[in-house]
């Protein structure tokens, strides 16, 4: 039996505990002061005593959260995602997460206090920030399973209302093994059908599943309640709302994922442009399989992996050289297409005569660790981004690996 952490404790000789600011089924959160820097932080303890869950489950979820937050930090962090300072152990050997103190209210508490938001632009800004956070997580192969108002804190930063994602205990990276927690009987209104009824439907989960959740959160901001219904136009529920935003919400929450924005990046763009029409698309043809896919800015190609983030286009790859998020398509400010490599093994583009290797920074670092050098004979370092033109070929891993796509904007 260890002493429960209490106000005034000095943890690891550095953090002075304040009040309990949150308590849930897995964790208990204190505000605290870093006595070395004077900064306000939050300390997250596994909630063994105050939870109805088994000790082992609490520990597993706590560790999962620590791993995910560490992965987010390793990827450079994101302003709309709670950041990790350190994982440590207190004097009793209990794990503690030291995280940024997100000062504000959970989104549902905030809306209960203030009522629905009248300022459409505020709703739009929150939507943009959430889309950006979801894109960031997706690109870094982290699935956030549970986007809903009580997992989002609303805080004021730089004079604007900013959402910050908290609670990563149900998020997983692609390599953490299967989850056994999806045996739910009551499904909230923030999950699209392909997630809520994963066993009963053939609809694929993918980046469009996050799009649905963000759409429902926008309706929540406008109305303060959310139905389970799909394809919701906020105006049908009596919300005062600009037509462009109403159409974005309706499209984002469509039952059929092909009618939604394909990914959070695409949804972010339409919110920024205040124009619900989806961004321009292109196609890629998987030359070995003969299949053609429509792609939108932000779409990704990756390996099918049962528990990982679902790419827009998934490829069976038993050898597992292809990453779960291998390569991402996007357009620049002039509408020109390019690819961004997200993989460890790299991607090649054949443009005109030769093949150009494109490799993410993480991929370059990994090669360097194993003593290889990605620099080619002419001394060029492979870029992370590469522009695409009509008819270019995109080969995953290596041109001889046998997974090649032909790009077209026609």
């Amino acid at each position: 039996m260890t002493a429960a952490p209490t106000r005034g404790d000095l943890v690891v000789g550095r953090y002075e505990l304040g009040e309990v600011v949150g308590e849930g089924g897995f964790a208990k959160v204190f505000d605290a002061v870093d006595t070395e820097t004077g900064e306000a932080v939050a300390l997250k303890y596994p909630n063994y005593e105050g939870s109805q869950n088994d000790r082992d489950i609490v520990r597993t979820y706590f560790e999962k959260e620590a791993e995910t937050l560490a992965a987010i930090r390793a990827a450079g962090g994101h302003p709309n995602v709670m950041s990790l300072r350190e994982v440590t152990e207190d004097e009793d050997g209990t794990s503690v997460l030291v995280v940024e103190l997100v000062d504000g209210y959970e989104l549902d508490d905030a809306i209960r206090r203030t009522g629905p938001l009248d300022d459409i632009d505020e709703v739009r800004q929150i939507g943009i920030a959430l889309c950006d956070a979801m894109s960031f997580l997706h690109e870094n192969e982290i699935v956030y399973r549970d986007l809903k108002p009580d997992n989002v804190m609303i805080t004021h930063r730089g004079g604007t209302v900013t959402p910050v994602l908290i609670d990563f205990n149900t998020a997983t990276g692609f390599d953490t093994g299967a989850q056994a927690t999806d045996q739910t009987t009551i499904v909230g209104p923030y999950k699209p059908r392909e997630v809520a009824e994963a066993d009963a439907t053939e609809m694929r989960q993918g980046p469009w599943s996050d799009v649905y959740s963000v759409g429902k959160i926008l309706l929540y901001l406008l109305k303060g309640t959310v139905p389970r219904k799909d394809g919701v136009d906020p105006r049908d529920f009596g919300a005062e709302c600009d037509p462009y935003l109403a159409e974005i919400v309706e499209k984002a929450t469509a039952t059929d994922y092909e009618e939604r924005y394909r990914n959070a990046t695409a949804m972010k763009r339409v919110l920024e442009a205040r124009d619900p029409s989806p961004p321009p698309s292109a196609t890629v043809r998987y030359t070995q399989a003969g299949e053609r896919y429509t792609i939108y800015p932000g779409d990704t190609i990756g390996r099918r992996y049962a528990d990982g983030p679902r790419s827009s286009v998934v490829i069976e790859d038993e050898e597992e050289y292809i990453s779960t998020v291998q390569v991402q398509f996007d357009t620049d400010a002039d509408g020109e297409w390019f690819i961004r490599d997200r993989s460890l093994n790299g991607t090649y583009v054949q443009t005109g005569g030769g093949w150009q290797r494109v490799l993410s920074e993480a991929g370059r670092e990994r090669l360097a660790e194993s003593g290889e050098d990605a620099t080619d004979a002419e001394g060029n370092v492979p870029p992370e981004l590469y522009g695409l033109r009509e008819g270019d070929l995109v080969a995953l891993v290596h041109p001889s690996y046998g997974v090649t796509f032909e790009f077209s904007t026609a």
Partner: protein, 397 residues
Amino acid sequence: MVAIETDVNRPYVPADGATLTATVDVEPGTGSGNEARERHILLCLDTSGSMDGAKLDQAREGASWVFGLLEPDDYVGIVAFDSDAEVVMRPQRWGDTAREDAMHRVEQLGAGGGTDMYDGLDSARTALDSLGYRPETDDAVRRVLLLSDGKDNNHEPADFRDLARDIDGSGIRILSAGIGTDYDEETIRTLGTTARGEWTHLDSPGDIESFFGEAVEQAQSVVATEASLELDAAAGVEVGEVYRALPQAQEVDVNWAGNTATVPLPDLAEREGQRVVLKVHAPARESLGEHSLVDVTLTASGERASEPIVAEYTDDNAELAAHNEAVSLDHRQTVVRTELGKGNVAAAETEVEKMTRIHGEDTAVVEEAQRQTRLVSEGGRTERENATRIVDDSRIE
């Protein structure tokens, strides 16, 4: 596909008989062909003088929310009642209704006068029955959503029981909500229970919108209507103390005809398991071995599923000691919850004492029953309603 599963607390009984507890779990299955089913929703709103202000404002918001949820093929109507009833909007197909027109009618509602809820419900039924000429109505999910903050000026709860039976008999379920502290709890409870819906207490006007919203979404997830369990008891077997445990703890009006009885069930909704608990007296038998005590058959929207309640007669003392405590606890807990819903703390305490004596006070269900009883004895209408529902937070996403 619908399915049922029966269970008993004592799988083995002695030759001279015993009284068993049984549960019948109803699995609604998923809604194949559900899209073709229409919903006929009638909002029955109290507009008596006391509804003026926030309550009526929120009732308007609630109507607005309902309109957002409706599908084009759904039908919606509105009846308002104060000193008498008025059909504000005849049930009409939502796809043929302009939202602005419907909202205009809702905006026009004003509060004043007394409370003739009886006339309100009667008019609601008549309004829904006006769609009876359409063959689709037979399969439709038909609902009256009742909202009131007061007592009927001229009718007693018993009158409402008869009216609710009539309404239920014509295929309409009532979801009844009382708001505030002045409505007659017995009336609201009787309406929801008798017409196979649910009854709800709303603490504040802010709860009105979600009451309407959840009722409509529940109607949209219905996979089978006109559901009931037929109990066919073997000779000498007696059945009693029948309750619905899920979705809400409610006493059941069982209609016996000879050895068979019908237990009416609420409409079956997707992912909403139902449970009925009952006592079965197994008579003395000369021959040992397995005997079917009650044949249970679920009928819903023309589908059927059967499973008997069985017990094995034996003289083996080790076998006779087998006790499936969960089943016993389910029944007692349901009795406790039903009594708490009525505010009968003394009756609930008597049951809890029995539970504690038999199952021990450390049992989770016993602790929960004690906790609920304490909450109700110290609390009010909210606690009484909460006691009738089992909410397992860990299963909510």
